[in-house]
Each structure stands twice: as structure tokens, then as C-alpha cells.
């Protein structure tokens, strides 16, 4: 009988302990799998989100992330300069301000108002209606339309709260030209977007002049476009999506990677310790049986292989079970973390990557081997005659 089949019978003979061991590995394995998904999940999800848009380069006034640093002044001229570059296909100014929507007899709805320069590409997906064409038109997300009770063609009265204007601004009425989905919209956020002139009107400005960032679509290589923009406007900073991810990674995103590293280490150590104890106790209880097998002609390598196979079976079955468990757990944990404010709806903390699966499998294999080392040593050094004698006397 092969070592694996023999180990299987050993496990089946003691179903309670085998089941509990496997379930323990499954639970620990699920946590380990989730930590691996978390380590790169947010960054990968953010990369997907950025790449799903048609913009390759983002231009800001300083190294600060968009919306957290100074604005770009004279945005119209900046956009014109960037658009003139041969490596650039499209450039639009983007500015975001706070918004509240008046509702008759009800509490105001709060959200964000984007002002986007005219261009072939817009940073939203139109669901119904059309894009805003004039300074008194806007597109609104589904949540906003529902909360405000408006549809395409309706009028909506909004009040902007602009960073450049500290006085309370008068309400402005817009026509809803369309309903759109915004990629960076949070689950409870209300977002509206209008033209750059429309936002200037809402902010009580004479004309559109400033932008939080310029969104650029490269004609070819984004890195070349970013370099050209940096050369044309050395006072500004141009970042490709990859560089933007790097900047985000340097910020709070690393927290989850660090947490995942710490928890991965703790989880693997925990699994290693417990499987070692489980196997060691199990082997110690069967010393007489193993000595008898050796006396019957089982080689040392064979009994060692039996113990190793037992470890492989416990970790293997537990590891296989840990994957569906891990996916289910990741779903729940993702839902918890997505309650954080400002997290866009399509962004996920736990994202499946084939690399995570490979690392998970490798860590479990290493755990199975390492956990079996000590019990294998006990079995390999077992004195046959003395053990049998002790067994008979006891």
C-alpha cells in the first residue's frame, strides 16, 4: 500500500481529530489567502480603475495627490499648451468642489460637483441622456437623481461650496442633461458634473480658470507624453497611471500591505505550530504501532513517508477547502472595509490574483513540510525493540 493511501487510512481511523485538523487548516488557510489578496488588492484595484478610464497621464500643480494640493491656475492656457504637444491626443481640465442640492421641505443632499473641460473623452460613463453642452447643464449619478427626484430634462437647484470662494454662494439652477456613472463615486456619494464654465458659474466666477488636475490621453507612449508635458510646463507635475499608483502606494495604501504582511507571518507561524503539535501528539500516540510496522518490515523511509503524507493530506485538504472559505471571507471583509468614506464603489480591498494563489500554495507546501519535520525525526529515530518492549510492559 502506498504511503499516501496508508496515511489516508490513518486519518479515516480517527475521523474527529482528522476533521478538526483539516477544518483548522482550512480556517487558517482562508485567513492566509485573504491576507495575500489584501496585500496587493487595493493597489491592483486602483490600477484597474485608472486604466479603465481613457486617460493615461494626470497633471497636477505639485506632488500632492489631486484634491489635496494647490490648484492649477490658468487651466485653459495649460490645457491648450498640453493639447498642442504631438504626444498628446486629448487633454481636459478637471476640478471638483462640494455640492448641496436643495429639496423642497427636505434635508439637503450633499455631494461633489465636477467641472470638466470640453473634450472627446469625459471621465464618466453616460447611462441616459447626453453630456452637458452649456454652462447650465449637468449630468448626475443615479443616487443623486433618485435623492433629488429628478430625471433627464428636469431642472435642479444646486449650491456649490468652492475652495476659492469662502462666502456662501447663491443657489444656481441647472438642467439635467443626462444620468452618468462616475468611476470614483463612493457607494453613498452623490456626484454631478458640468462643464468647466458650469462649475465656474456655480462658484460665482466670471470664467473657468483653475483646475485640480489636467486629464491627458496620450497619442502613444504615456511616459513620453508625461515627459513632454514636464518639459513644456516644468512648473507642473505630470504622472502616468503607473506613477500615480506609486504615489498612492506611498500614502495610506501601504498600511494594508503592512497589516497583511504581519498577519500572513502570524497566520503561517500559527498553522505551522499547530500542525506540528497535532502530528507530534498523533505520532507519539502511535509509537507502538509504528515500531510494530518497522518490525514487520516497513523501512525507515517508508514510515517517515507515512507521517509526511499525513501532513500533506491534512494541509492539502485543508488548503483546498480554504479557497472557497477564503473567497467568502474576503467578500465579507471587503464589505466591512468599503464602509470607509471616500472609497469608490468599484474599488476593492481584496482582489484575486493568480500570484496570490501561487504564494498561498507555496506557503502551505512549506508549512506541510516544516510541520512534518519534527514528527518525521521522531519516527526515523524510533528504536524498534525498546519501543515494542515498553509497549508490552505498559
Amino acid at each position: 500500500m502506498r504511503a499516501l493511501a496508508f496515511a489516508w487510512r490513518s486519518l479515516v481511523r480517527q475521523p474527529a481529530r482528522a476533521t478538526l485538523g483539516i477544518l483548522g487548516v482550512a480556517a487558517v488557510g482562508a485567513l492566509l489567502f485573504d491576507m495575500l489578496l489584501l496585500s496587493q488588492g487595493l493597489v491592483r484595484s486602483m490600477r484597474d480603475l485608472l486604466e479603465r478610464q481613457d486617460f493615461d497621464v494626470r497633471v497636477t500643480a505639485t506632488e500632492a495627490l489631486p484634491g489635496t494640493g494647490p490648484v492649477i491656475d490658468d487651466a485653459v492656457a495649460v490645457v491648450a499648451t498640453i493639447k498642442a504637444l504631438p504626444s498628446v491626443r486629448e487633454a481636459v481640465a478637471f476640478r471638483i468642489e462640494d455640492l448641496s442640492i436643495d429639496r423642497a421641505g427636505r434635508r439637503r443632499v450633499r455631494g461633489f460637483l465636477q467641472g470638466v473641460g470640453r473634450g472627446a473623452v469625459q471621465p464618466w460613463t453616460l447611462l441616459r441622456g447626453g453630456n452637458p453642452q452649456g454652462p447650465r447643464e449637468l449630468v448626475l449619478d443615479e443616487d443623486g437623481a433618485r435623492e433629488a427626484g429628478v430625471a433627464v430634462g428636469s431642472s435642479i437647484t444646486i449650491r456649490a461650496s468652492c475652495s476659492a470662494e469662502r462666502d456662501a454662494l447663491p443657489p444656481v439652477t441647472f438642467r439635467v442633461s443626462g444620468i452618468a456613472a462616475f468611476p470614483f463615486d463612493g457607494p453613498d456619494d452623490v456626484t454631478a458634473a458640468t462643464t468647466d464654465d458650469g462649475l465656474a458659474t456655480a462658484c460665482g466666477e466670471r470664467e473657468a480658470g483653475m483646475a485640480d488636475m489636467i486629464l491627458v490621453t496620450a497619442a502613444g507612449d504615456p511616459a513620453a507624453a508625461a515627459a513632454d508635458i514636464a518639459a513644456a510646463r516644468p512648473d507642473l507635475r505630470a504622472f502616468t497611471n503607473e506613477q500615480m499608483i506609486g504615489r498612492i502606494e506611498q500614502g495610506g495604501f501601504t498600511y494594508f500591505r503592512q497589516i497583511s504582511t504581519v498577519l500572513t507571518t502570524v497566520t503561517v507561524s500559527f498553522a505551522l505550530l499547530l500542525i506540528t503539535v497535532l502530528l507530534t501528539v498523533s505520532v507519539n500516540q502511535r509509537l507502538g504501532e509504528i515500531a510494530a510496522l518497522r518490525a514487520l518490515g516497513f523501512s525507515r523511509a517508508r514510515v517517515v513517508a507515512d507521517v509526511f503524507s499525513e501532513s500533506v493530506l491534512i494541509v492539502g485538504i485543508g488548503g483546498a477547502l480554504s479557497l472557497p472559505l477564503g473567497f467568502a471571507l474576503a467578500e465579507g471583509l471587503d464589505r466591512i472595509l468599503k464602509r470607509m468614506p471616500g472609497i469608490p464603489e468599484p474599488l476593492h480591498f481584496f482582489v484575486f490574483q493568480p500570484e496570490a494563489l501561487a504564494v498561498h500554495a507555496t506557503l502551505l507546501v512549506v508549512t506541510a513540510v516544516a510541520a512534518a519535520l519534527y514528527p518525521m525525526r521522531i519516527v526515523a529515530r524510533l528504536p524498534i525493540a525498546a519501543t515494542l518492549r515498553d509497549e508490552v510492559i505498559s
Partner: protein
């Protein structure tokens, strides 16, 4: 608003420039010290820069919301900041500020005050600084996340604990059988096993707490170094320690008793292999 600082002037000359405080991180990064005079400007080009004297280096109040962003900050008196940032068309006294900190006579009135202000001054919003437990608070969310992880860990540990106790109890099958044969009732043996479980779980919980206290400093030092912050990431409070013991000890004792119960239901002769 960004304030840009330019070349360091080592010695002040003439009239004493206004005092500023510089964050430790900025001082370390740029090699600034108390008594140095620096030029500050509101544009990266350094136009209209004005000299300021560093009166002190301060440790910024740790802000978890700015984790990962090294605080390169300068603090100055508000009139100095307004004077530095005021546009040529803005008459003195008409500048704006980002926020106003308000101390209420009764802090419990914070929500009512915020509502009152919002109705009287549309566009101005007031938020209580002592109400962090709302649903979307990032730290409440993180707390829930860590709690969920802790629950999964406890489940995994319980399963392993049960497997181990089943094996350990099985190892003492003959002893238990003999105890039964010499007349000890089941509840007496179960009581002994229970107290043994409490003892082992208690020692294990204490060991776990010692391990946690030891790693607390390591984890804090690592993350404080990594993020260049004075934030405390892990804190083992008496409440946390009590919760751990309150979960671990009963769990260990119950696992031991549950594992033993199946064994004790068997006949004494069968247990003693007679």
C-alpha cells in the same frame, strides 16, 4: 494652500523676523534648527518671500487620517500667515480662514449647534470633534475589520484546540478508566478535567498576553519608523487584556470538557481496555 520655503539664511540681520515652529519631520529632512531664519513664499518660484525665524521644532499631533504623508509643516501666527498669503486686491481684515475651532459651554450641544449654524449660514458646515463613532468613520471601520479577523482567528484556534484536547484526552483514556474503576464518579473526573483545562488555558492566555506586550513595542516602533509618525498602532489596554482572557480561558476549559465528555460516556472497562 501651499507655502514654499526657500534657502535658509543662517543669521538674521536687522529687524527680528516673526517666529515660526517647524515640524520635526521637515526639520530633519532639511537640516533646520532652532534660531535659523528661513524664507517662506506662497509660490514655488519663491516670489515675495519673507523671512521667518525658527523658534522651535514641534512633533505634529499624530493624525491617523494623514498616515503615510510625512508632515512637512510650519506653524505661524495667523496674522503672519494672512499677511503672507493676502492677495494685492484683498484689504487687510477681509481674508478668509479654512476653519474656526469653537469651544462650547456645554460640549453636549455640539450637534444642536452644528444644525443651528447650518440653518443660519448656508454653505458653512460644523462638525463635532468628539463624535468619532459614526458609521463611516475610518477607524470604526478598521476596528470592525480587525474584529472580523480576530473572530476568524479565534474560530481557527478553537478548532485546533478541540483537535488537540481530543488527542490529549484520548492519551489519558486508560488513566480515566482506572479512576472510574476505583470508584470516582464521572462528575468528579469531569471537574478535575475542567480545572485542568482552566489552568492550562489561563497559563496559555497569560503567555499570549506576555507575547502581545512584547510585540506591542516592536510593532509600534516598526510602523512609527515606517511612517515617520508618533502614532500608536497597537496598544494593549487593560480592557483588551481582560477581553482576551475572558475569551481564551472559558474557550480552553469548554474545549477540554467537550473533548472529555465523549470519552467519559464510555464504560469504565472499555476505557481501561479490560
Amino acid at each position: 494652500m501651499g507655502v514654499f520655503w526657500a534657502a535658509v539664511v543662517v543669521a538674521a540681520q536687522g529687524q527680528q523676523p516673526p517666529d515660526i515652529l517647524v515640524s520635526r519631520q521637515l526639520a530633519e529632512a532639511e537640516g533646520l534648527g532652532v534660531g535659523d531664519v528661513v524664507d517662506l513664499a506662497t509660490s514655488a518660484a519663491g516670489a515675495n518671500a519673507r523671512p521667518f525665524r525658527i523658534a522651535g521644532i514641534y512633533e505634529p499631533t499624530p493624525d491617523p487620517m494623514q498616515l503615510g504623508q510625512v508632515p512637512r509643516e510650519v506653524r505661524m501666527h495667523l496674522p503672519d500667515l494672512l499677511s503672507l498669503t493676502r492677495g494685492p486686491d484683498t484689504p487687510a481684515g477681509t481674508e478668509h480662514v479654512d476653519s474656526i475651532n469653537i469651544a462650547l459651554t456645554d460640549p453636549r450641544d455640539a450637534d444642536a449647534f452644528a444644525r443651528d449654524l447650518a440653518s443660519r449660514m448656508p454653505g458653512v458646515s460644523a462638525r463635532s470633534t468628539s463624535n468619532p463613532s459614526f458609521d463611516g468613520n475610518p477607524f470604526v471601520v478598521l476596528e470592525r475589520f480587525h474584529l472580523a479577523i480576530a473572530i476568524v482567528t479565534i474560530v481557527a484556534a478553537t478548532v485546533f484546540l478541540l483537535a488537540l484536547t481530543i488527542m490529549l484526552v484520548d492519551e489519558r483514556r486508560e488513566t480515566v478508566g482506572v479512576l472510574r474503576l476505583i470508584g470516582l464518579p464521572v462528575h468528579r473526573i469531569l471537574g478535575q478535567i475542567f480545572f485542568e483545562g482552566v489552568l492550562i488555558a489561563g497559563v496559555g492566555a497569560l503567555f499570549g498576553l506576555v507575547l502581545a506586550l512584547g510585540s506591542e513595542r516592536l510593532i509600534n516602533e516598526f510602523f512609527q519608523w515606517r511612517y515617520n509618525t508618533a502614532l500608536i498602532f497597537v496598544r494593549i489596554t487593560p480592557e483588551v487584556a481582560a477581553t482576551c482572557v475572558a475569551i481564551a480561558v472559558p474557550l480552553g476549559a469548554v474545549a477540554t470538557v467537550a473533548a472529555s465528555w465523549a470519552l467519559l460516556r464510555r464504560g469504565a472497562l472499555r476505557l481501561a481496555r479490560r
